[in-house]
């Protein structure tokens, strides 16, 4: 006992000695964290991996905005072209930005945008450029392991290697990953389950950028292409506008939503051309005939896990070939673009037309997409719009041309655009449009509004426009948000989205309605203290589960109330207390979460420590609650908690110098109080070397 007391005293003294030091590493915006958690809770198929990894990549290599270089600033992918130009102009004319507050005063910027940018930018003054071209290499090696009492597919070792090298105008990168349970083998493969790489050239003249290898595309408002598609679900985001159009190297570990080939970008932000061609093998569920001949694809498979027989069968079973062209033209206040793409699949899609929700599903092996977009404004008002069509070919493509559709309709009652409408191009059911406005009538008020219509038969496999549901079509809605500085230090955000789903879809056998409402208040009397209260409500019509015959529609509502108290009592110590609750109607299911975070860095040693303890009690899975965690570099962790659970983790970061950083994380989730519950543990380790 005496030993224990003396250990505690020693530990306390050690903390007191080490605490009064310096640093408060910027973390992600709390608004962003909350939204990630809520969107995950609401959508079964939301996958924020690509976007969050893109953001984590920015954190590793913050954008040096004081360069005043549009290319450098535009690495902040969520900024629009107008914002990039405004910021670059401001720095060129007025010199370096000294504080974040200065940014919020610029036209087209506001506090929420600046808070979103904060973790990913550097305000360091720019050193004069020397004659030598610099080179920089960054290698990040991560290994994590999960253990629990039960055997399941999620156990095992996950390994990830990321490497990036820059020298002058050239750079190249490599990402290699094995998910838990996936084998490392050189037999018929490159060793790792997922391997991605690129070589990039960035020019200063007419040739803007060339990428060979894996890349991501963002164009217009995302009707055709948006690699950060998940951002579109964020209702209380600072703006509904998509980020600027670009082609960027792909560095995420999401295994099915990228392009592999070559992209060429010519010109600049106001006048330019983007050309790209890609051929990539992706996961899909294949249909076979009795003699094991592949006849078509029933659906694509996401997730990138390849452990079970069916997952391995789906792995890289479909080749997607895409060619695209984008033309950009504009002036200071108006900018527009036209995007066209053609997609071929190695096997035709043959949806199950006995299910009503599939009558508008993509069928065939070819897709032609066209879109046009425009952005205009002066800073206080910004208008944006994009319209596009997606024309799916019938089953007469090269691969499936000789096939008779086993599920073809013979009654003549098929809707247009379905499999049996051979040779028709039904434009009226294949279009989509989105338009919106962002207005900043005064320095304390920002208003966003967006309307959208995606026809049930509109298809685009890499789209990512603002919408409530998943997929590319079948939604019509209006969304609006208002950000107000109601009083000094008091910030209020209110947002609403109402949408209609005109065609049946999974769990809804009739047209349905949905809505989302968010109201958030934030009181920040100083840089070191923050209180935040948020209420969100999300409703959606589904079929009543217990009935036979024609399904009755029932509106399911999830309400979530969250409270966050964040304080930095010392420069290096941060305490975050969080309480949240969820209520589901009509089931009446409820859930609660209490969470305490602690982070601390030290002056004497280059160590940073994070600790969390969370308690959760929910009535079931529907009322589950998500809790964002700090995680390793280039990674994110948002575990879901349901039933009676405790969750805790500790993470250490040792940054010996600018060249090397080591992170270790140990976490456990105790669900043994639940029937069949387990005690799950995870250990993660990471080394990042830069030279």
């Amino acid at each position: 006992m005496e030993n224990q007391i003396s250990f505690r005293i020693t530990f306390a003294i050690l903390l007191m000695v080490l605490i009064p030091c310096h640093l408060l590493c910027q973390e992600e915006s709390i608004a962003l964290r909350e939204s990630v958690e809520e969107i995950l809770a609401l959508s079964e198929d939301a996958d924020p991996a690509a976007m969050l990894e893109e953001m984590e990549g920015l954190k590793e290599s913050p954008v040096s905005i004081n360069t005043g270089d549009e290319k450098e600033i535009s690495r902040l992918f969520f900024l629009s072209e107008f914002q990039v130009i405004v910021l670059a102009d401001h720095i060129r004319k007025n010199g370096s930005v000294v504080t974040l507050y200065e940014l919020a005063l610029l036209p087209a910027f506001d506090r929420n945008t600046v808070l979103l940018m904060a973790p990913y930018i550097s305000l360091e003054p720019v050193a004069p450029k020397g004659g030598k071209s610099y080179s920089r290499t960054l290698v990040t090696m991560t290994a994590s392991a999960r253990f629990s009492g039960n055997e399941n597919g999620t156990e095992g070792l996950r390994s990830l290697l990321k490497m990036k090298h820059e020298q002058g105008s050239f750079s190249f990168g490599l990402t290699a990953e094995n998910d838990p349970g996936e084998l490392f083998t050189l037999k018929n493969g490159p060793g790792t389950d997922f391997l991605s790489g690129y070589i990039e050239y960035e020019g200063k003249g007419f040739i803007n950028r060339i990428i060979a290898g894996d890349f991501a595309v963002r164009a217009g408002e995302g009707l055709l292409f948006n690699s950060s598609q998940w951002l579109g679900s964020w209702l209380s985001s600072p703006s509904f506008m998509s980020g600027r159009s670009t082609v960027a190297p792909y560095t995420s570990t999401e295994e099915n939503s990228y392009f592999r080939g070559i992209s060429l970008t010519f010109g600049n932000m106001n006048t330019g051309v983007i050309l790209f061609a890609s051929s990539n093998r992706i996961d899909a569920r294949i249909q076979f005939t009795d003699d094991s001949t592949a006849t078509g694809v029933s659906n694509l498979v996401r997730g990138g896990i390849h452990i079970t027989e069916s997952q391995l069968e789906a792995r890289n079973s479909l080749t997607e070939t895409v060619t695209g062209l984008r033309l950009i033209a504009g002036a200071e206040k108006v900018r527009g673009g036209v995007t066209a793409s053609a997609t071929w699949f190695s096997l035709p899609f043959i949806p199950d037309l006995t299910e009503p929700e599939n009558l508008h599903a993509f069928a065939g092996d070819r897709l032609l997409n066209l879109a046009a977009d425009i952005r205009a404004g002066t800073g206080s008002v910004l208008f944006f719009a994009e319209a596009g069509i997606g024309l799916a070919s019938p089953l007469t493509g090269s691969a499936g041309g000789d096939l008779s559709d086993p599920q073809a309709d013979t009654t003549g009652t098929d809707p247009p655009g379905s499999v049996s409408t051979v040779g028709e191009m039904n434009i009226s059911d294949s279009w989509a449009a989105t338009a919106g406005l962002r207005a900043k009538p005064s320095g304390r008020v920002t208003f966003n509004i967006l309307t959208r219509h995606y026809s049930p038969g509109y298809h685009a496999f890499h789209s990512g426009a603002f919408r409530a549901g998943s997929g590319s079509g079948n939604e019509t809605g209006v969304a609006a948000s208002l950000h107000i500085e109601a009083a000094r230090h008091l910030f209020i955000t209110a947002a609403a989205d109402h949408y209609r789903i005109p065609w049946p879809r999974y769990r809804s056998s009739s047209p349905s309605y949905g809505s989302r409402i968010e109201i958030k208040g934030e009181y920040q009397p100083g840089d070191d203290i923050l209180l935040r209260l948020a209420w969100t409500s999300s409703s959606r019509e589904y079929d009543a589960a217990t009935e036979t015959g024609t399904a009755r529609s029932v509106t399911h509502t999830r309400q979530h109330l969250g409270f966050v108290f964040d304080i930095c009592p010392a420069g290096t110590l941060r305490l975050t207390t969080r309480a949240s609750a969820s209520i589901i109607t009509p089931s009446g299911e409820k859930g609660y979460l209490l969470c305490q975070d602690f982070s601390c860095s030290f002056r004497a040693i280059p160590l940073k420590l994070w600790f969390r303890y969370a308690l959760c009690s929910t009535g079931g899975w529907d009322s589950r609650l998500y809790a964002w965690e700090n995680d390793l570099l280039s990674s994110f962790s948002v575990p879901s908690l349901s039933g009676e659970m405790t969750r805790s983790y500790i993470m250490l970061s040792w940054k010996h110098n600018d060249h090397i950083e080591v992170r270790l994380k140990y976490g456990f989730t105790d669900g043994t109080n639940n029937p069949g519950g387990t005690f799950r543990q995870e250990v993660k380790g990471q080394v990042r070397i830069g030279f």
Partner: protein, 267 residues
């Protein structure tokens, strides 16, 4: 002070006894529609009929005509005329509306006035006569009731308003409603509004709106109401003593309701 306590007590006593019926009366004014009718504390010609206490702040006399086309169905359209005489100390307001078609229609008339009780507080009242006529054997009915409102300036930029319709609900078959709202003038040409509205046997509706004079003559408005859930949009245009407004309500189930009004202000 005693007078004020009595007024507030009267309002809240009536609010506590609200019951019965559904909201029957179509609110008018395209400007108000553009802000999802969150105008309980917002000055304006048509807004005076949403809270009669606002009459006390009307700067000049005026006349207006308005048309509302509910769900874009002509049979559900409503026409209205109104006039305000800005005489002091008690302005006088008159409104008449017609809703329906040849087989069923409702005529609503109201006569109201308001007084300033202090520099920051105003009180208004309006007597209403409502007549409903149906074709065939349906019985024609008529009602007389009243509505009242109060507004209060807390700081000069913030106005609070409360409005009560038909406190006589126990004595007639009309519904009652109570609205409480805020109007915050954030800067010149920009104000934000928030209203909570409760009608008998209807869920509480929270409405908010924003109005922005983007140019000297052009005003953009938008708003949101929670029940029935709808987005609102509107545009206003001023030229001399004439003002034209249009407003739209978008509900995902019932579609679009449009409204237009033209107001002539005698300066």
């Amino acid at each position: 002070m005693l007078r004020w306590n009595a007024v507030l007590l009267l309002l809240f006593c009536h609010a506590a006894g609200l019951n019965a019926g559904e909201p029957l009366f179509v609110p008018h004014g395209a400007g108000a529609m553009g802000m999802a009718f969150s105008v309980t504390a917002t000055p304006g010609h048509w807004n005076c009929f949403h809270n009669q206490a606002l009459l006390a702040t009307v700067p000049s006399s005026g006349f207006s005509v308005g048309l509302e086309n509910r769900f874009m169905i002509p049979a559900l359209s409503s026409k209205a005329v109104s006039g305000i005489l800005a005489c002091r100390p008690a302005p006088l307001a008159l409104v008449a509306t017609h809703y329906g078609n040849a087989d069923y229609f409702r005529i609503f008339t109201g006569l109201g006035s308001a007084v300033k009780i202090s520099n920051s507080i105003s009180l208004g009242v309006q007597v209403d006569y409502i007549s409903e006529r149906g074709a065939g054997e349906y019985r024609d009915v008529s009602h007389v009731t009243f509505e009242t409102g109060v507004t209060c300036l807390i700081p000069p930029a913030l106005t609070v308003g409360v409005h009560l319709f038909n406190p006589l609900a126990p004595m007639n078959t009309l519904p009652s409603s109570i609205d409480a709202g805020l109007n915050w003038t954030q800067s010149e040409g920009l104000f934000l509004t928030l209203t909570g509205s409760k009608a008998s046997n209807e869920p509480l509706s929270v409405q908010c709106g924003i109005s922005w004079d983007v140019m000297q003559r052009l005003t953009l408005r938008t708003g949101y109401m929670s029940s029935p859930s709808a987005f609102a949009f509107g545009i206003g245009f001023k030229s001399g003593s004439l003002q034209a407004d249009t407003g739209f309500l978008l509900n995902s189930m019932t579609g679009v309701t449009s409204s237009v009004s033209i107001t002539w202000l005698i300066k």
